[in-house]
Amino acid sequence: MSDNVYIPKLSKIFEIKEEVTGARAIKTFRTQFVENNGFSHKCGQCAMLSVFGKGESMISISSTPLVKDYLQFSILKTGRVTSALHEMQEGDVIGVRGPYGNNFPLEKWKGKNLIFIGGGIGLAPIWSVLQTALAKKADYGKLSLFYGSRTSQDIVYKEDLKELKNDITVHLSIDQKEKEWEEYVGFVPLNVLDKKPSPKNAVAITCGPPIMIKFVIQNLEALGFKDDQIYTTVENKMKCGIGKCGRCNIGMHYVCKDGPVYSWAELKKLPQEY
């Protein structure tokens, strides 16, 4: 059974954290495999989660590979499978198969300043690489994070972000003015432009809604970032996760297998099909 790529491994949800409530609810799940298996992922990779009877959904793994005893997924409630996940309780069992896709080239970035730029649920894919870099802080230059959400209620990983501020520079932002909000007000791309991170010896990693990514990249370019200094992730509808079912491709790239991580230099060469 183990060599069948389509068979998920049963995995127990042992911790659920409500990040955001309301219409765009986000929950963070931590899962442990029921039976030990060789699952080991790299930063930026995804896993296919199953809720039996509902289907499968491709979710990026937000825990760092350095943590071996669980996987973490932060999930925005958006459709059939994610809604079912949101109804699950601690102790419930789901299926997990993977890991799938390529990864952030962390090795290549050694010695560089890393600028993480996330919006909304887009912090999840970044979180894995951020945590990994943080754990090996000595290997990298300055780390910083830009993170924005619609309102202060929509911020994910609230406590972790507070802690993170002790270690690295964190620039938070929300879209519109709120009482008691002391940090930046406005869209993430504008926050980036406002703080003017230096492109010198730096890599920017951005993830979030497509429209945000588009303007973040524009603004980074304006600040002097080169195409190969910008990394982002792409998502498309997926079913198999292994480059066979034929729907997630952008040109000849299957996002599930050849993505989701692309440098802007690579992505620019691909057709606009995402």
Binding site: A23, T78, G79, R80, T82, S83, A84, H86
Partner: protein
């Protein structure tokens, strides 16, 4: 006789005078006997228009695409679309008008009479030609199909190659049009529901066996649905997702969308798909027969629609596509509607 040159000339004038956005008509197909739909924007291309026994497509199906295209445009061109229609197709326009899916001003109708014939059934012709490829087909004045192949020409009586729907057709010429081509020939048919009666006369078990055998072939390509001018819903029970979803649709709405029919081509699911397709076309199907023609597995889907057409007529005295102002079959009733089956 329909004079093709007249049709070309009118089309040319319409485009030259910029009265229409473009013209949906027929042109030569690459595939033997069949014509192909053509979308003509330039006046000089009107010469490509054809009218022949292979013009079976119901072009009103493309009004759906036009409507969607228009909805996407910020400053849409409000001129009508010119469209070539046969008798059956013109009734489709009436249904679309009745359902307020289109407005009369959206179309400029070039109605073409089928006169004493209609369109061919490609499969019947192919059988007659025994593997030879037709280069040209036309009707002569004596209801013969004149087929030109590399070996010369042969004549086949119309009744041997006419599509079944044309044999059972009660109209033959457009009922709504802006310009009419050809002769308005009165032709009656005593066999309007002959194909239905063939199946009605089977025993219950024979009926089931017949349809089981047919639907077992179905590969669920949905060509029957896609080709139908009435199947314009944004949300279809067989799709995995609703196309009416926007950024504002809540997760709950999406999650609670019922999966009525599975994608698997198993007998139960395929049967329900076809029954529902037929029911959704009750009182709307104008028997252009396109669903059956396009089926790659030759499932006689038309028999289902035809049955409901027959029942609508016999139970409720309802006929489709003649009056754009009548109430639709299932959103109207009469006090005397039959209810002997109700306890």
């Amino acid at each position: 006789m329909v004079n093709l040159d007249d049709l070309k000339k009118e089309a040319l004038n319409l485009l030259k005078d910029e009265k229409v956005k473009y013209i949906i008509g027929y042109t030569e197909g690459s595939n033997g006997t069949s014509a192909a739909p053509a979308f003509i924007k330039n006046p000089e291309d009107t010469d490509k228009l054809v009218w022949n026994p292979g013009c079976f497509h119901n072009l009103t199906r493309f009004l759906r695409d036009e409507k969607k295209r228009k909805a996407r445009e910020k400053h849409p061109d409000e001129r009508p679309v010119g469209i070539v229609v046969k008798g059956c197709d013109s009734r489709a326009i009436n249904v679309l008008l009745q359902e307020k899916y289109i407005k009369r001003d959206d179309v400029f109708i070039l109605g073409v009479s089928c006169e004493s014939t209609g369109v061919i059934d490609e499969k019947k012709v192919a059988k007659k030609l025994k593997g030879k490829k037709a280069q040209k087909i036309e009707w002569d004045t004596n209801r013969n199909l004149v087929v030109t192949t590399e070996d010369g020409t042969t004549k086949i009586p119309a009744d041997e190659v006419l599509a079944e729907r044309c044999v059972e057709c009660p109209v033959h010429s457009p009922v709504v049009y802006d310009i009419f081509f050809g002769d308005k020939i009165k032709r009656t048919t005593d066999a309007q529901f002959k194909s239905v009666e063939k199946i009605e006369n089977l025993s219950q078990k024979e009926k089931w066996d017949f349809w089981k055998k047919q639907f077992d072939k179905c590969i669920r390509c949905y060509a029957c649905r896609s080709v139908c001018p009435m199947c314009y819903c944004d949300e279809c029970v067989v799709d995995t997702i609703s196309f009416a979803v926007t950024a504002d649709t809540t997760a709950e709405e999406k999650a609670q969308r019922i999966k009525w029919i599975e994608k698997s081509p198993t007998p139960s699911e395929t049967f329900i798909y076809h029954i529902i397709r037929a029911i959704h076309l009750a009182g709307r199907c104008i028997d252009c027969g396109e669903c059956e023609r396009v089926c790659p597995l030759d499932i006689p889907i038309r028999f289902l629609n035809k049955k409901l057409e027959k029942e609508a007529k016999s139970l409720f005295d309802y006929e489709v596509g003649f009056d754009p102002d009548q109430l639709s079959l299932v959103s109207s009733f009469k006090d005397e509607d039959p209810e002997d089956f109700i306890r």
